[in-house]
């Protein structure tokens, strides 16, 4: 409990000064003063607020967020499990790493959005396809980071394990798995923005329920204030998801040397 409080406090201590938000505030105030009423292009921020209230009155908003967030979380969780297991297995074998390296590098180089139409054609546009796409996008950074972390484990630590006569399984759990944790977290941190883009993209392309679908519909109906309102909400959503993960990451890495935790 005390540790958790200390964590939160150190997180706030690392926040940039809040006066740094001044440019955004000034921009919004200026915007509102220049364009107070509705406009097909630049409706004022107060209009965005009215649009937000309209959207939430219709009950669309909560459902859309729930759908987007659950695809994101389930997909990410699957990618973490699959990526960590495969990454550790591949990284543990020099031969396997070498044999798979070019293939994995190529698969990673394909921009994840490009696989959305492919998945759409093969699986059809449904919630399962949304998950597959999210998992595929998040898989590479997680898998490759884990494999690299296993390869980086200091041989001396493994000798310590042998000297204490730890079994293969014990070595896996006590030495390999904890050694991989910082890199696994880095992989997840890289994967999160990608998964958000992918979920929104699927929703925009296919009108599967979610914030992406809500936003593209608003744009097609030229409801400009709703578009801006959703932009702000998606921004907040991205901010909350990213920062929530940073808090989790910092809490987990509390035991690691600061240098290791930073990379």
């Amino acid at each position: 409990m005390r540790a958790a409080v200390k964590n939160l406090r150190s997180l706030f201590a690392n926040l940039p000064p809040l006066r740094g938000l001044l440019p955004i505030v000034l921009l919004l105030v200026f915007w509102q003063l220049v364009q107070p009423g509705p406009s097909p292009y630049f409706p004022g921020p107060v209009q965005w607020w009215h649009a937000t209230l309209r959207l939430s009155d219709r009950g669309h908003l909560a459902a859309a967020f729930l759908s987007t967030a659950s695809s994101l979380l389930v997909g990410l969780a699957l990618a973490i499990v699959i990526g960590a297991v495969l990454g550790v297995l591949i990284g543990a074998s020099r031969r396997l790493s070498r044999a798979l390296d070019p293939l994995l590098e190529f698969l990673r180089a394909i921009p994840p959005p490009a696989i959305v139409p492919v998945a759409g054609l093969l699986i059809g546009y449904n919630e399962g396809m949304k998950l597959v796409v999210v998992v595929l996008a998040a898989l590479w950074p997680i898998l490759l980071n884990c494999a690299a972390a296993v390869r980086r484990i200091d041989p001396l630590v493994l000798e310590v394990a042998r000297s204490f006569r730890l079994s293969r399984w014990e070595t896996m759990w006590r030495i390999t798995a904890p050694s991989v944790v910082p890199s696994l977290l880095t992989g997840i941190r890289i994967a999160i923005p990608l998964t958000i883009i992918l979920v929104l993209l699927v929703e925009m392309l296919t009108s599967l329920p979610g914030i992406g679908a809500l936003m593209i519909r608003a744009q097609r109906n030229f409801q400009s204030s709703e578009v801006y309102a959703l932009l702000v909400m998606i921004g907040l959503f991205g901010f909350v998801v990213n920062d929530a993960f940073l808090v989790i990451e910092a809490a987990i890495l509390r035991s690691w040397p600061p240098r290791m935790a930073a990379t």
Partner: protein
């Protein structure tokens, strides 16, 4: 000097086999090299008795570390036999733990001091016993106040103490130490040397100690083996009959200490350049 004996010395003649902790005869080791193999150790024969501090001293590149790894069961001897308590060695034996020189990589950085010390006990002892043994081991190295710190928060000397405590916690009959104090400053080194001898007196643990520091070898050792050449051979062994407990100031000024230091130096020098 009367205590100098030419190697290979066979202690087996004096002691019965049962008193011997380690018994090596005709050990040679070849390790894979860029092209083919390279012989690192050649025809090594020596014994280590229960309860003694046996130091192995020699210049770098003579296979000291490899010899220690052979004793710890991490490297297999290519020829010859290595016995521990009369048994032929096939892997890391349970009565042996290695203390490595590079403490920062040998400790698990994500575990607290106490949990590092518990590493060899987990799943083998119950929780109460682990707690008791970790506490005992930390008291032996005077780290009981740092149980909840992480290794990266400690100085080099303290981290090396953690590694020693971790080894002691499994109650080994012998500690194999690979230049454990080489990376530490002179003062820390001196205090850790005395702590190590204190631990030996309290626990009766035997110690095989590899070093390239002649003074350290003489100060700590009950017996010294000098290893030189490439591939490395044991050329001399010395019985160090200095008074115990040893003292950083008094012992190092004793004429006998200086004589041993000189003799070991000669033993290394005459072979290293000859």
């Amino acid at each position: 000097m009367k205590s100098v004996t030419e190697a290979p010395r066979r202690d087996g003649d004096v002691n019965t086999q049962g008193d011997l902790l380690f018994s090596c005869s005709g050990v040679s080791v070849a390790l894979p090299h860029t092209l083919g193999e390279r012989k690192v150790l050649d025809d090594i024969s020596f014994d280590v008795r229960h309860g003694e501090v046996f130091t192995i001293v020699g210049p770098s590149g003579t296979g000291k570390t490899t010899l220690l790894r052979v004793l710890g069961g991490l490297t297999r001897a290519t020829t010859g036999s290595v016995r521990i308590n009369g048994r032929e060695l096939t892997g890391p034996p349970e009565e042996v733990v290695i203390v490595f020189q590079d403490y920062s990589h040998a400790l698990l950085q994500w575990r607290t001091v106490a949990r590092n010390v518990a590493l060899g006990l987990e799943r083998r002892e119950d929780a109460d016993e682990i707690k008791r043994r970790v506490g005992d081991a930390l008291r032996l190295v005077k780290l009981e106040k740092n149980a909840d710190d992480y290794p990266w928060q400690l100085s080099g000397g303290m981290q090396q103490r953690v590694q020693i405590a971790r080894a002691l916690a499994v109650r080994p009959s012998v500690l194999l130490m690979d230049e454990p104090f080489a990376a530490l400053d002179a003062m820390t080194k001196a205090s850790l040397q005395d702590e190590l001898l204190g631990v030996r007196d309290q626990t009766g643990t035997s110690i095989v100690f590899v070093t390239h520091d002649i003074e350290e070898a003489v100060y700590l050792g009950d017996r010294i083996a000098v290893i030189t050449g490439s591939p490395g051979r044991i050329t001399h062994t010395f019985d160090i009959d200095l008074r115990k407990p040893r003292d950083q100031v008094a012992t190092r000024q004793m004429p006998a200490f200086l004589e041993f230091r000189y003799a070991v130096h000669q033993a290394i020098g005459s072979n290293a350049y000859g």
